[in-house]
Symmetry: C2
Subunit: 201 residues, 2 copies
């Protein structure tokens, strides 16, 4: 039972990977890149520390370009992040060897998030199962599991070495002469997993 799990190296996608492994799945982590930066290496490094297999999925630059346009037009990154995530799931699900795709989206996430019709549509269009191990968990539950499992590094968003979509999107905006802080909300802290606190798989 092999599952391909979208992975940024953050707390949520790391917790999702752990849950999948506990359920008996053979987990391969997948980090998306548009080939602009090498920040996927941070996810690769965390995957290695956690003992998971890892691959990189290169996606076409025009997806990021379109996401950048959406973010600029909206003055907010939500639709852009949602767009990239849907395209990433589709790209992964369309690989011939892939029967199960997964991600670390949570019950309390606004974006990225696939509602039920979108989740079913993804499954039907690509003939895959779409598994979201964190969907039934609230923030308290996620916090207590993360605290038990992982050593986490917390830093200011702009400084964190991370492999989520935001990093390349912010970079693209900067290249267009736009300050990402005019589009992304100021969040003081973000997190990256550094390793197991107590190895439980």
């Amino acid at each position: 039972m092999k599952v391909y799990h979208l992975y940024s190296g953050g707390k949520d996608s790391s917790l999702g990977a752990w849950i999948l492994a506990k359920l008996g799945y053979d987990v391969e982590l997948v980090t998306v890149t548009f080939g602009i930066l090498n920040n996927w290496r941070f996810a690769e490094e965390t995957a290695e520390r956690l003992g998971f297999r890892h691959r990189v999925l290169k996606m076409p630059g025009e997806i990021l370009e379109k996401a950048g346009e959406m973010a600029i037009e909206d003055g907010h990154p939500n639709n852009a992040i949602q767009f990239i995530h849907e395209k990433a799931l589709e790209a992964l699900a369309s690989l011939p060897e892939v029967e199960r795709v997964s991600d670390g989206t949570r019950r309390d996430d606004r974006v990225p998030f696939l509602d039920l019709p979108k989740a079913r549509s993804l499954e039907d269009r690509y003939g895959v199962a779409y598994i979201r191990p964190l969907l039934g968990l609230g923030y308290k539950t996620i916090r207590e599991l993360v605290d038990r499992l992982f050593v986490v590094e917390i830093r200011e968003s702009e400084k964190l070495e991370k492999a989520d979509y935001e990093v390349e999107l912010r970079h693209l905006l900067r290249e267009k002469g736009i300050d990402p802080l005019t589009i992304f909300p100021r969040r003081h802290y973000q997190s990256r997993v550094l390793g197991w606190k107590e190895k439980l798989i």
Copy 2:
């Protein structure tokens, strides 16, 4: 990390219990009864075969009475089942020792199902975490996990020895001279877990 998990002895709530145990929770199964029938014993028996602790939560008969009225008025059991499930979660969450409640509701369920505002309201009102281990799983994923884990008995709904809300609700309707088949959709088959196929906890 103790969690109280609403339990009928069926596939979904049994799979939910297994997932909670795999995540490291100390699981106690809880079966609701209105004291009309002893069908909670089927859940107790299955819990014992699976090796989980089990308790019975007796709920006031007027809840079932009100559910019966709703089902009769609607000509359909959905609102009644939803009502009972919400009351069961509230009754469980209100017990002083309970910090975490759980159930086997799925992504593809229409009822019983708590939408996000209701789930958060349950957590806030009672100061509990509400965990739904199956929420992020589609029917394919649930089927493959159940097939791997459990020996399942499949029977016609009316004949199955089971401990879900339906059984006492059907009984109440019959006592009022109403044929449950005029209210419940005819489903040919329902399932009950008999034991582990391969013990994995």
